[in-house]
């Protein structure tokens, strides 16, 4: 039995979840005290497990592996899942290391090492798919290092610069 705090859009739920040992793919879930049965039809084929049935209500689902959102027939919902037995299940972000969110070409650099920046300030422009994409500071601080130069091609996740 996992005790979780789940936020969907702006609403937070206390959720307990436990697999039904006698019915594979079925989970007994209690949301804010109300019991629900969640069935994972393709539980034996995780690569196809893109839908679930809550009581009798089917939901097609798309979600990133960090469970930070979910897309259904009706659109996208912002999600956070917190395991009450641990502090956080989300990857630790915002440590100031700015990585390329997409492969591309460094078109322009707006900051130098040692420069003070404010959170949200434009750090550089990454050109990809014929678009100029501004990369902004994740937090206020000082630029500690700049790893890339204009004209340089970067790959996904490559460290660009660091704000301290």
């Amino acid at each position: 039995m996992n005790k979780l705090t789940v936020t969907i859009d702006n609403q937070t739920f206390e959720v307990e979840v436990a697999p039904n040992r006698t019915a594979p793919g079925e989970y007994a879930v209690i949301v804010d005290g109300a019991p629900l049965t969640v069935y994972v039809p393709d539980h034996d084929r995780p690569e196809l497990a893109d839908w679930m049935i809550v009581d009798s209500r089917p939901y097609e689902l798309l979600m990133p592996s960090d469970l930070s959102s979910v897309q259904t027939y009706n659109g996208r919902y912002a999600v956070t899942v917190r395991d009450q037995e641990t502090h956080s299940v989300r990857p630790n972000v915002g440590d100031g290391r700015v990585k390329a969110p997409i492969p591309g070409l460094i078109a322009r650099l707006h900051v130098d090492v040692g420069q003070a920046v404010e959170g949200g300030q434009s750090l550089l422009v990454l050109e990809a798919m014929k678009m100029e994409n501004e990369i902004r500071a994740p937090k206020s601080g000082v630029v500690r290092q700049v790893v890339v130069k204009p004209g340089q091609t970067v790959t996904l996740g490559e460290l660009l610069l660091e704000v301290e």
Binding site: N2, Q11, V17, A34, Y77, P101, I102, A128, M131, E134
Partner: protein, 494 residues
């Protein structure tokens, strides 16, 4: 009729053109770059040639040479790239290859955005206030002096590109120099020419265009109008036909004006005569696009006319095979541009391999895409992945159908703006048709007006997803739960 057409483009438009060529029994030559090779436009072609030049789809000399080598008797440029290059069209003519589009003189006239506005103004039609901003004006003061003649807010536009990429709205003098520099840079990058001009912004307004078809015998018809007022950063997100902002009297007047303006330029083949409509219902000519547009399918849905087929027929010297009276306008059509991008992460482009690509089906739904399961979506090009076009008997049915189709459309492997479109098509101002170019700036992301029962179900679902992932990441044993598992979970690719 042509035997073989080289399609000098990529992605959904190249695939779209290929489809009509197939139906006309015309062979096609596809072009591709290494990163683009997966695209349907290559797979469905009769022949496919890899481009060598770093100019890629803008490699005019190489492309003309390929056309001649393959024995293509015509080139279809699609939009962008070589679509409105008078010099290229002239070289095609010299080489004996038919360019599917207007003749070079017409292209030169409509691509000269300043000259076109002057000509239309002189003929007595309303145009926005505008002023040239020659290259030699680089000082902020000189720019400000020009700008002061038309007033703020104004738009910096590429003299070659017009509205669209590279255009920038300037609200106050302080930002003028900065924005002009940016616009010049982007215009150079996109169009290879940094000539810009200033135009008084009519905002908020409605962007309405009239699709026209003209043959070389002077016959000219329109296929109704489209509204494309739903823009973000000058890129249209949703287009529709008819324009909800016009009443029937305005519509008739707009059509008549569009045909008269097209005639002014001796327009031939297909194009769009573009207007801004202000809050009082006055419309202002802005430019003529001398090519097919991304959103042409919307007009095809309401008229039943295959515009690409007509382009090809006209270029082959055939007369229009219908009069205006034979072009019924029926029902209501809308298009969502589905981009491989992430609206929840600054709209960053999202290349990748499609592992799911489930198209919406059923009545009144059309998809134009180059994608399929297994296809690699390249990072180098425009993020447009698919045009989702739907038609209904009336606007309400059309909106409902669009929402339904967006819900069915499932893409895995790249992020898309489908969830953004899903929010837009449920916004009351969009549903009522009472929106203008200010829509997106007033649009609030993630408006939380959805059913609480659904949120509760999703809370249960996310809890199960969490439990499932935990099991997949590492089979749960009591030891692992208490010791190291959460660290390993963080190492999952996100």
């Amino acid at each position: 009729m042509f035997k073989k057409i080289l399609i000098a483009n990529r992605g959904e438009i190249a695939t779209r053109i290929t489809r009509t060529c197939r139906e006309m029994g015309i062979e096609t030559v596809a072009l591709y770059t290494r990163s683009d090779r997966d695209s349907l436009h290559v797979r469905l072609a009769s022949e496919a040639v890899q481009l060598q030049s770093p100019l890629r789809y803008a490699a005019d000399d190489e492309i003309l040479e390929i056309a001649q080598r393959c024995g293509a008797d015509a080139i279809h440029p699609g939009y962008g790239f070589l679509a409105e290059e008078a010099g290229f069209i002239a070289r095609c003519q010299q080489a004996g290859v038919v360019f599917i589009g207007p003749p070079p003189a017409v292209i030169a006239a409509v691509r000269d955005k300043l000259g076109a506005m002057e000509r239309v103004q002189a003929a007595g039609y309303r145009v926005p206030n505008f002023i040239d901003l020659p290259d030699e004006i680089v000082e902020a003061e000189a720019m400000a002096a020009q700008a002061a003649q038309i007033g703020y807010p104004l738009i910096v536009k590429s003299a070659r590109g017009g509205r669209g990429r590279g255009a920038r709205v300037v609200m106050e003098p302080a930002r003028l120099a900065e924005y002009v520099a940016a616009a010049r840079r982007e215009a150079m990058m996109i169009y290879g020419d940094d000539h810009v001009y200033l135009e008084r912004a009519i905002a908020p307004s409605h962007y309405v265009v009239v699709q026209v078809l003209g043959d070389r015998f002077g016959n000219l018809v329109h296929l109704g109008e489209r509204e494309g007022s739903l823009l973000r950063h000058n890129q249209k997100l949703i287009e529709e036909s008819p324009a909800p902002s016009l009443d029937d009297k305005q519509r008739q007047e707009l059509w008549r004006t569009a045909l008269e303006v097209a005639e002014l330029f001796g327009f031939e083949n297909t194009g769009a005569v573009e207007f801004l409509v202000d809050g009082a219902g006055n419309f202002y000519f802005t430019e003529i696009k001398g090519r097919i547009q991304i959103e042409h399918g919307v007009s095809e849905m309401v008229t039943g006319v295959d515009i690409v087929r007509e382009q090809i027929r006209i270029a082959a010297g055939e007369p229009l095979n219908r009069t205006q009276a034979e072009i019924p306008l029926q029902g209501w059509a809308m298009q969502c541009r589905i981009n491989a991008e992430d609206p929840w992460n600054d709209y960053l482009p999202s290349p990748g391999r499609l592992t799911r690509f489930r198209l919406p089906q059923g009545p009144g739904v059309r998809i134009d895409s180059y994608g399929y399961v297994g296809c690699q979506i390249p990072q180098r090009f425009d993020p447009l992945l698919a045009n989702l076009i739907v038609k209904g008997e009336n606007r309400a049915d059309c909106v409902a159908r669009l929402a339904r189709a967006l819900g069915e459309f499932r893409v895995v492997g790249v992020e898309t703006n489908i969830p953004l479109h899903q929010q837009i098509v449920r916004e009351p101002s969009f549903v009522s048709g009472d929106y203008d170019t200010s829509f997106i700036s007033r649009f609030r992301f993630d408006r939380h007006n959805r059913a609480e029962a659904t949120r509760r179900d999703l809370a249960a679902i996310m809890a199960v997803a969490y439990a499932l992932r935990r099991r997949i990441a590492a089979p749960v044993t009591p030891d692992q739960v208490k010791t190291g598992w959460h660290r390993s979970a963080r190492r999952l690719p996100s």
